[in-house]
Amino acid sequence: MLKSKTFPSLVGILLLLALLPFGVSGYILGLLTLGYYTAVFAMSWDLLFGFAGEVNFGPSFLIGVGAYTAGLLNHYYTWPIWACVISGGAMSIIAGLLLAVPALRLKGPYFGLVTLVAVLMLQNFIVLFAGITGGEIGLDLPDVLAVDDGSNYWIALAFMGVSGLILFGLSRSAVGLILQASGQDAVQAGALGFNVTKHKLAAFCISALFSGLSGAMLIFYEGTVSVGTVVDIAVGVQVIIAAVLGGRRTILGAALGAVFLIGMGEMLRPLGEASTFVVSAIALVTIMFVPGGFLGALLHGEKR
């Protein structure tokens, strides 16, 4: 794929999407809004896994830190939304560095476990200090980004567009290639003279920053911050599924997978409780038979 061609077409797609509020019901806009924030989660995860090769089982650790930082600042100090979101992103970078330390030492399932533990610790911490954090089910926020569906949609779309272009650009740049090389074979990449540690640290910070920002934005869309939306393991699972479903190492596929998952979950709502079952089944069949994900299948056909 040529860079010169991809970027204009991406911008074109984004502009087309920006026209949706003129023709589509508020309900679909609401779904897409949620899908766009989830898309940023999934793209951030893909940067870390697909490119830096780090199996992060706990994307919701980074998301949750950003979201709760922003939520607490807004709830207790009524900071303006933008200040809360930026603070959330900054705290997430610190969380990302915290995760990066073991990542540089550990491999495979061990690092995976540490990320899982990080989520559980955060969850325990939030529940333990329920008096401040609102505990198991959450904290309501005095401010929201917007009340009407159209504005919320445009904010989310713009946020996803900017984040997506940056993440995608990064993945296609020299930095992305070095990351990919060090993700696949760190020793060799190091032997070639690349500073693997520095690049991996950068990947952690960038992934954390966008996860945190998106987490913070999401809670100001919903007007509530809760363990169930931004911390729970299930949230992380959804992000991972979205990225794998859409196609790893593509960044854009992750976004596609996220929107698909959210849309599918809602389309199957009439099935009631069985809807999660069906969505999981579809995802399972997809990864088993089309392991490259949607975008992988689209770009490369079936070859691997």
């Binding site: 019901s25 508020g26 309900y27 609401g30 949620l34 529940v127 329920a130 609102g134 505990g135 198991e136 089910i137 959450g138 309501d140 929201v144 009340v147 569906d149 919903e222 007007g223 509530t224 809760s226 169930g228 939306t229 709502r269 009631g272 409780e273």
Partner: protein
């Protein structure tokens, strides 16, 4: 695919034929609850039951009531999404939402932002109505259709005042789950129990994620109280079973939401035997003439007795319909005015709401004249009422392992 095409055809044909005969569009009421839990499932069930009855009797000014169900999976975020959908896509006129305080507290600002009247059939936190009192203009669209936590504690204390002397209860430990609704509940327990002559010797809050209650029971037993006063809703089966299996000799009384449903006995393998819980309606007591017929119809249709929020939901559908009738429209502000003037005898008693001056704005009035509490005990697989005395139909009876001073 085929089926949906056929359905579409049928619908358009049907609409074409029936249009002149139909008086108006249906009135939609959204129901948001966690479908897979005992308490949550009672909410849509009871709502559908009430809607069908109203429709069979001709609807509201000829308009049918339509219940639109949403499953919130006990998540505040899912509930907010459902609420937004109910407002912008399904155009419902009112929402009946959840038995979980945290969920209702997350929805309350949205009820104001989207000007969509909402009634909760089962959440208890005092904060729900305090917020309406503090910022009436923003939050007036929310109504608290169930007893606020403080009233729940008071009701438990009232009941205990009557039964404690015979049982020799003098020292209690308050045990509740860590959640929004138990904060005011515990606060009031700590105030009202000493007033009835019962010392609170310890106060334990448990994480709703707890699965092994052995250490907690052991600690309590070591403190030698006469009784445990509970505040549990998200948890219920596991502590009850472990209490029974470990033969903890201390009786349990208080709020135990899951125990209000008839499936509780089966889920606990009968360990519920002897548990006493506070409620506002029981399956065997005609609080009003409407209670027993409702329970009978509910059991017939769903094969279980309604959980506590089934009674309140059933009533809510009726008084929302009534408010729409009186308001003459589904305009949210007119509906709020009409709901505030509600005076409706339902299955739980006489429903009226406190006004702006009360700390508990838009919460249902609690007193024997309106809605009073009662104590129910599981005995031999049945829920029997043991207090107040005028409606009690059984005497308190504990399993052999429970020790009480009095008898």
């Amino acid at each position: 695919m085929k089926a949906s095409v056929r359905l579409l055809l049928a619908a358009s044909v049907g609409a074409g034929l029936a249009a002149p005969a139909m008086a108006a569009d249906p009135i939609k009421i959204g129901v948001i609850a966690e479908a897979s839990s005992i308490s949550g499932a009672a909410i849509p069930n009871a709502a559908k039951l009430a809607a069908d009855e109203i429709n069979a009797a001709g609807g509201v000014n000829g308009r049918m009531i339509e219940i639109v169900e949403y499953d919130d999976h006990n998540s505040a975020a899912d509930a907010v999404r459902a609420f937004q959908r109910a407002s912008s896509q399904d155009h419902v006129s009112a929402v009946i939402a959840s038995y979980v305080s945290e969920v209702v507290l997350a929805l309350e600002p949205w009820s104001g932002r989207l000007k969509l009247p909402m009634v909760t059939p089962g959440a208890a936190s005092d904060v729900i109505s305090h917020r309406i009192h503090d910022d009436y203009a923003a939050n007036k669209y929310t109504f608290h259709g169930y007893m606020a936590s403080t009233f729940l504690s008071d009701s438990v204390c009232d009941g205990m005042k009557a039964i404690a002397p015979n049982l020799g209860w003098k020292k209690a430990v308050v045990v509740s789950e860590d959640a929004a609704w138990t904060i005011p509940l515990d606060e009031e327990y700590l105030k009202c129990l000493p007033k009835i002559g019962i010392d609170v010797i310890d106060h334990i809050r448990m994480s709703p994620d707890t699965t092994d209650f052995t250490p907690i029971f052991n600690k309590i037993e070591g403190e030698k109280p006469d009784v445990m006063v509970t505040g549990i809703s998200h948890i219920g089966v596991q502590p009850t079973v472990q209490w029974h299996d470990q033969q903890v000799p201390i009786p349990m009384i208080g709020i135990s939401s899951q125990a209000t449903s008839s499936t509780f006995y089966k889920d606990t393998n009968g360990a519920a035997e002897g548990v006493i819980y506070q409620t506002i309606s029981a399956p065997d007591v005609g609080v009003t003439p409407k209670t027993l017929p409702f329970v009978k119809a509910y059991e017939k249709r769903f094969n279980i007795t309604p959980a506590y929020c089934g009674y309140t939901t059933y009533d809510e559908v009726y008084y929302i319909a009534d408010a729409i009738k009186r308001a003459g429209s589904t305009d949210p502000d007119k509906m709020v005015d009409a709901l505030e003037k509600t005076s409706f005898v339902g299955t739980i008693g006489k429903v009226e709401f406190y006004g702006k001056d009360s700390q508990f704005t838009h919460a249902i009035k609690v007193s024997p004249e309106y809605i009073g509490g009662m104590l129910v005990q599981w005995q031999g697989g049945k829920q029997v009422t043991i207090w107040p005395n005028d409606i009690a139909n059984a005497k308190i009876k504990f399993p052999a392992f429970v020790k009480t001073g009095g008898n």
